[in-house]
Symmetry: C2
Subunit: 186 residues, 2 copies
């Protein structure tokens, strides 16, 4: 019996515990392994308990994507401030490595299905991530937007091509070094 069963969660804690467990399941098994019932079992609560926090599987997926974007933005902001000489290159590398380290989460964050639902929480979290990039680029409203979109396209494309196995590494080639070279100065 799970130790959780006799120690009921404060609602806030249960939500967090469910999200953490869901992130692990998502990375291990992909989206198909992620049902609210499986999640309840993994955390050791009743099958009904997750519904207090997520009224549907779609709501859980959205919350995971929001959490993903928050961590993603935080990672990019952190590296931009520790590498002020080349913030764009540092952020770009962080972008691609985040995608490789959290492949299923990254695909979920950018899934067209979730995007189509157009939920305000997800839209805000995604916009905040883009704004992090937009701030680092500088420039006026028009040219800054174009530069930020160009940088985004490059790092997103590199992430997807690597995730999809389209870029084959040569003998002796190191992924991180190759990413840094391809990103260049951005």
């Amino acid at each position: 019996m799970s130790t959780y069963t006799n120690a009921p969660y404060h609602h806030g804690n249960l939500r967090q515990a469910l999200l953490e467990a869901a992130l692990i399941i998502l990375e291990k098994e992909g989206q198909n392994g992620l049902g609210l019932r499986d999640l309840a079992r993994a955390v050791g609560v009743s099958a009904a308990a997750p519904y207090r926090h997520f009224d549907s599987r779609a709501a859980l997926l959205e919350a995971l994507a929001v959490t993903g974007f928050q961590r993603f933005s935080a990672a990019m902001e952190a590296v931009a401030s520790t590498e002020p000489a080349q913030p764009m290159a540092a952020m770009g590398k962080t972008y691609v490595l985040f995608a490789l380290d959290n492949a299923n989460l990254f695909r979920l964050m950018f899934s067209p299905e979730l995007k189509r639902d157009n939920r305000p929480g997800l839209r805000m979290a995604a916009d905040a991530a883009f704004d992090t990039l937009r701030q680092a680029v500088g420039g006026d409203q028009r040219s800054g937007r174009i530069k930020a979109l160009a940088a985004w396209a490059k790092v997103h494309g590199l992430a997807i091509l690597l995730l999809d196995g389209q870029i084959a590494l040569r003998a002796g080639e190191d992924t991180e070094a190759l990413i840094a070279e391809i990103i260049g100065g951005l």
Copy 2:
């Protein structure tokens, strides 16, 4: 009754007719609408006839992806020779517009599932498309490869972000003009 039924195809023609019909079905209905039986019906031949050319659905999908890469390479080569002053920018724009005009085919061409099968025919067609880009970049073996990968990442990322609805156009913004601006000089 289809006019095809009384005019049996020469094998070569049937293969081509099946591919053309499959490309239309793929774009209209997506991969799920693409069965060998549906295809036989669409072309007006017996259910067994497609098997003379494609021994499985996977073989049909691979042939479609190969055809896609051949047309893709041809389109990029054509534009590179008609715009010799800025071949990379012209090829980049062609890359992204091909993706937008043939969304399901483009996704199939770059699907990780097909890539994982690692069939020689598809690998050769995909490599030829990359080589078209690689030739246009010039440079020595090492720096040329990095430049070509960087250009590929940028146009592939832009294509995917547009296909997935991640880049929202502003009021009055034109997709083609925005693509040209983002691609810039490459």
